[in-house]
Amino acid sequence: MKNRVIVVGAGGAGLVAALNAHENGAKVSVITKEYPTRSQTCMAQGGINAVLSGDEGDSIEIHVQNTLKSANALANESAVRYMCEEAPKAVAWLDSIGVPFSRTPKSKIAQRKLGGAYAARACYAQDYTGLKILHTLYDRCLAEGIEILNERYLLELLSKLDESGKKHICGVSLLNKRSGEIEIHKASSVIIATGGYSRLYHNYSTNSLSSTGDGIASALRAGARVSDMEFVQFHPTALKNSSILISESARGAGGYLLNSKGKRFVNELLPRDEVSKAIHDEIVKGEDIYLDIRHLGAEFIEKELPQEAKLAKLYENVDPVHDLIPIKPAAHYTMGGIEVDMNSSTCIAGLFAAGECANHKVHGANRLGGNSLLELVVFGRQAGVNAAKYAKEFSKEISHVKEKEFFEDEIAEIKRFTNEINFYEKQAYLGEFFYKNVGIKRDKEALQETLKLVEEMRDDLPKMGVSDKTKEYNTNLIEFLEFKNMLMLAEAVLLCAISRQESRGAHFRIDFAKTDEKYTAHTIVDSDKRVSYEN
């Protein structure tokens, strides 16, 4: 157990953490509920921010300032500064392991300008930046011989109190999806890198079906704290029926947003939260909203926006050369997550977190495009290095942790739930309710109504459960466990959103429409559901 580091989650943050823990001498196992290359990171299109040169007058300082501005005074300046300073090194490292970044005619890594940025600083690989980074990291892990355990679902983080009453991590309990067996893996250090919780919004999220916040929920149950959970970024242009993302590049290239009357109603190039709010207001008035790129012409669309054209045809059955594309805003990125310090460590000794599941306080109330891929490299590295160091120095005996039987009983109990209520329907209903009441605009009454719904659903869990009692590859069971985790996080989001009586970035309260200085602090929720504010 000594020197063993377990990484839960195999997206960008998890794989970067694993590589760095391995490089620093730890024996690393990566655990994923799917396969590494299927992780959410593959969906990132835009790019990874780094100031690579002073051309165009850009500087690390301006990157810091752009990030802080977008964060609405809710980011930690030293964390932001660390991330921005590390950014050029992060991109150089990705380049050194073979990430196929696009290049300029001058043989430089190509960069594009994203919303809220002073200059073109998002390094990209066509529309496939996340995909190509993720796959290259995966190949690197194979090269290093790092153990990857696929199709294991995280049940709980195992921890123990030491003599002085301080909690330390001991390992994880997992459900092997294939065998249906419980596995206990002991380790002196665990890194959570399980991604965000946008699937709370169900059909109103651009995310992969796997973004169910399992690691955050487990961390909360284990006694870690979560913070800033109320801040959820809505992307303005997801396809109306499927919520599949149409990239910002369509508006960047000159696309219009139109209402049912065919009228433009907002400057399309404002920041994401502004554009989403404007669209929301139109929808509330009963308007349907469309993205119009017809005027850009067939040739331009084919050459510059092929991915968008393909997605619109496939999922909305419209040809953007001749038709309007029906859109709506959808939940895209969750700024909140597991509370970590400047070393990526949680309040449980040996438990670290990185990536979208963690809150390093670099995004604040509104994330800047291109900073999420950056965060996962910079803080994935930090978590990996620190976890390895901790594991090396760890000298306690890991014993008396919960055994396999305990978790087998828990699963057996769930299989005895009565299944009178179809949880898939409840999940869809919760998503709609969240979109309507905990979405782009919120107020006290709607938030409290939603909290009541979540509490009712939680109490009704024993009436839900699964109809499939099979042991092997029971996706019905896994999806129910994910739903349970999402209900837990739904409550945390609501407690934060109700408590924060002001508007800031992605959190807009109709009943408190202005930013209030006294809330320039992070909302913290602990495992007893107590809400407090800290700076």
């Binding site: 290049r103 043989s107 995909l131 690197r140 599949i244 179809n422 029971n474």
Partner: protein
């Protein structure tokens, strides 16, 4: 419309969802008719490679295929079925490691031009959905064949200017590798990303020749059958 799904036996489901993707149909069946149906999915937008299945014998991504009345949906070939449409990918993916599909060492300060980058731009679009692996007929005779996606991945790294030891990459794909392919082109036809592993394998063969390797089947003309290569 009727959708037939290969489970332990073929089960027919009735859904009223004209124009929907196969993934949407599977979701609806699971939600409202049979929660025990097992299949994989993720991004819903053709980039995570989770939902490849065979429809009427042809590999497709469920999220980008529009279901039609009477379709027969089956799991991928050449890989063990775990349940219903879910297959165990560990064996298939293990060929990436066996083929050493990575850059052999870290490259510091190697400058790439646009032209350098275009060489393997398409190959690095691979989403590891394993459609090519399922369609490959070589597995019928050689279960240790490194296979189309792993060889495409090797080509990606070999062709990259940052690879400092291309010979080591080429050495790794001689046994059960480039010469075992029949160049039938099935992999190219089914790739949702428009990649041709067949073409990449041909390029790897040319590169192999440059390093002094030759097609071992030429040796068979002398009547030797014991070199392990398939004989048709």
């Amino acid at each position: 419309m009727k959708i037939n799904i290969q489970r332990q036996s073929v089960v027919t489901y009735n859904v009223d969802m004209e124009g929907a993707t196969l993934l949407e149909v599977l979701n609806e069946i699971k939600r409202s008719q049979d929660p025990s149906l097992a299949y994989s999915s993720g991004c819903r937008s053709s980039v995570c490679g989770s939902c490849a299945v065979r429809v009427n014998g042809r590999e497709v991504l469920a999220c980008s295929y529009h279901a039609k009345d009477g379709d027969l949906v089956e799991p991928l070939n050449n890989t063990p079925v775990l349940r219903d449409l879910v297959v165990d990918m560990d064996g298939a993916y293990s060929f990436n490691a066996k083929a050493k599909a990575w850059q052999s060492s870290l490259a510091e300060n190697v400058s790439l031009s646009e032209e350098n980058q275009h060489i393997n731009e398409l190959q690095s679009d691979c989403i590891l959905c394993a459609s090519c692996y399922s369609a490959c007929p070589v597995y019928a005779v050689n279960s240790e064949f490194l296979g189309p996606f792993s060889l495409t991945r090797v080509w990606r790294y070999v062709s990259d200017k940052r690879e400092s030891n291309p010979k080591s990459k080429i050495d790794a794909v001689q046994t059960n590798g480039v010469w075992d392919c029949t160049l039938c082109n099935e992999c190219t036809i089914v790739c949702p990303q428009g990649i041709s592993s067949k073409a990449d394998i041909e390029k790897l063969r040319a590169k192999s020749s440059m390093f002094g390797y030759m097609d071992p089947s030429f040796g068979n003309f002398g009547g030797s059958f014991n070199d392990g290569s398939p004989v048709f």
